[in-house]
């Protein structure tokens, strides 16, 4: 397993484009969160301090940072898609197999790399949230700190799921640009499906079915936190109430998709003549 991970890391980290994109997708959100937590004096007129808004309180901070950081996942998606596309355009996939890598190992080495980067990103976000939280939060009891750390798990699963989808599209299209186009098409198709279901049945049925769609199910893992923050400001407005928690079945759905995408990628490679 380490051998396969080493292989893939060498392929990625010696490539300048991948290195830049990996930096953007994982290190950049880290810095942005760090910066936003600092006191910013806007030309001496007023002081902007997001910490004062209470958004860096435990446990809300887990929700906020994971949601925010996951928006950067698209950059690493480009890396995932191009790591397949490059193997096809350089024909190195063929050479890898000839050199004695099995098709299963080829897919696994990509998958391990995905898990590695998702895990690294989760740990990074976890640490920065913990530090900022400890600094700003009004509540520092251990029980409150660990409450809602399930968002970190959701973040990890969301990244792995999304990148597995990219891996599958990469294998399917063989070219990075087409694979990204597929991703966009899937996004449109999901909304079309949603529209059709709403038209056929009603909004509630459509929404509950939509939650099973690949992209939507991944999005659903971490719901947008803005409404929740608004809720804390106006606790008496009942209509703002919504279910933002991470549920086990949401994780199960995404893990199901992940398994399916990895399996399909393998099947595709096995059936294909290179």
């Amino acid at each position: 397993m380490l051998r396969l991970l080493h292989l893939e890391l060498q392929k990625l980290l010696l490539n300048r484009t991948s290195k830049v994109l990996i930096f953007i997708s994982f290190i950049l959100p880290f810095f942005v969160i760090l910066l936003s937590s600092l006191k910013i004096n806007v030309f001496g007129f007023f002081t902007l301090e997001l910490g004062e808004l209470g958004i860096f309180n435990f446990p809300v901070i887990w929700h906020l940072t994971t949601f925010f950081a996951s928006q950067f996942k698209f950059f690493f998606a480009i890396v995932v898609v191009s790591m397949i596309g490059n193997e096809y355009s350089n024909k190195t996939i063929k050479q890898n197999l000839i050199d004695g890598l099995s098709k299963k190992e080829f897919i696994l080495s990509k998958f391990y790399a995905i898990i590695f980067f998702s895990l690294a990103s989760t740990v990074l976000i976890g640490l920065i949230s913990l530090c900022i939280g400890l600094y700003y939060s009004s509540y520092n009891e251990f029980n409150i700190i660990i409450r809602e750390t399930s968002f970190l798990l959701a973040y990890l699963v969301k990244l792995i799921g999304f990148f597995s989808l990219c891996l599958f599209f990469g294998m399917l299209a063989k070219r990075s640009a087409f694979a990204l186009a597929f991703l966009f098409i899937l996004f449109i198709l999901e909304w079309l499906g949603f529209g059709l279901l709403t038209w056929q049945f009603n909004m509630d049925v459509a929404e509950s079915i939509q939650n099973f769609f690949p992209l939507k199910s991944m999005y659903k893992l971490i719901d947008q936190p803005f409404q929740r923050i608004a809720m804390t400001k106006f606790p008496d407005k009942g209509e703002l109430m919504y279910d933002y928690a991470v549920h086990w079945y949401e994780i199960a759905i995404v893990l199901g998709w992940t398994a399916l995408f990895i399996f399909l990628s393998y099947r595709l490679l096995k059936k294909r003549d290179l």
């Binding site: 051998r3 080493h6 292989l7 060498q10 392929k11 010696l14 490539n15 300048r16 490059n86 350089n90 024909k91 190195t92 063929k94 050479q95 890898n96 197999l97 000839i98 050199d99 004695g100 890598l101 099995s102 098709k103 190992e105 096995k270 059936k271 294909r272 003549d273 290179l274």
Partner: protein
């Protein structure tokens, strides 16, 4: 002899097209094999199947004793298919390190192998900056990394300039001299003739011949003759029992033999009958002539 690769009734269809049809042959340790065939005869497809990149339709093949999986067996094989495929953004050394990781061999041999192909002084240049000849030589170095039991080369000199072709050929010869089993697919016959002891001839995916190069067609060779009195020579040859066929082109008379005869005896016979030769060469058909005969006949 110890078999390295046995292929049994291998067939591959691409849709309606049959690229390889019911092919069987065995590669034994220590020999240098050539796979000959015109373009599109199924050479690369056959190699692709045994190298795990093309799926077979039916039949089977086994590496070594047949107890290892194909991808594990391939770790003991060195192979280059068509064009050299490496990561363009990595240097030669980095590329070879990656191959070492895949094959699970030690990285200490990288410099030694780069030395063999004469790339040691360029080992830290990016692959994308290499010329085609250098790329091909790097591919050979990569195939040698694990000191393979068998080296498979598919059109190794394709697209190279004469100097590049010469370099590759010299490297192949060196490797063959060390006793490594080699399987060389090519449509360049002089290439195969120079290094191979055995050949497999394919046409349209069907095997026409497999065996030693010198036994490819049952032939006793021919004489190329010139004499001042050409008519007398021809009439004498027509009555000779060992001569099956005569071909005259300008002043050169070619006499094909149906049994082996010594050139001295033959010369003596002609001289006794009043013919003085100005030119006498005894030859066997070149691989090219044999190959054309074989592929035309079928």
């Amino acid at each position: 002899m110890e078999p390295i690769l046995s292929i049994n009734n291998l067939t591959k269809n691409f849709g309606h097209l049959t690229a390889v049809k019911d092919l069987s042959f065995t590669i034994n340790k220590g020999n240098v094999y050539g796979i000959l065939g015109p373009n599109g005869s199924g050479k690369s497809t056959t190699l692709g199947i045994v190298l795990n990149v093309v799926n077979k339709t039916s039949g089977d093949f086994k590496w070594f004793d047949g107890n290892t999986t194909t991808h594990d067996a391939l770790k003991k094989v060195g192979a280059i298919i068509e064009r050299p495929n490496f990561y363009p953004y990595m240097t030669a050394t980095q590329n070879l390190k990656l191959v070492c990781k895949i094959k699970g061999v030690d990285q200490s041999k990288i410099d030694e192998k780069l030395e063999i192909v004469g790339l040691l002084d360029r080992k830290d240049s990016k692959f994308s900056n290499y010329s085609l000849g250098m790329k091909q030589r790097l591919a050979i170095a990569s195939a040698l990394l694990n000191d393979p039991e068998i080296l498979i080369l598919d059109e190794p000199t394709n697209g190279l300039d004469p100097q590049g072709i010469h370099q590759i050929r010299e490297i192949i010869k060196q490797i063959a001299e060390k006793g490594t089993t080699i399987l060389l697919a090519s449509h360049l016959l002089d290439e195969v003739e120079k290094v191979c002891s055995h050949v497999v001839v394919l046409r349209k995916g069907v095997k026409l011949y497999s065996g030693r190069v010198d036994e490819m067609i049952s032939s006793h060779g021919f004489f190329e003759l010139k004499a001042n009195n050409q008519e007398a020579l021809i009439s004498l040859l027509e009555n000779h029992k060992s001569v099956s066929r005569i071909k005259v082109k300008d002043h050169l008379v070619t006499a094909f033999l149906n049994e082996s005869i010594d050139s001295g005896t033959f010369n003596q016979y002609l001289f006794n009958n009043g013919i003085v030769l100005t030119h006498l060469v005894q030859r066997k058909e070149s691989l090219e002539e044999q190959f054309l005969q074989l592929t035309d006949k079928n």
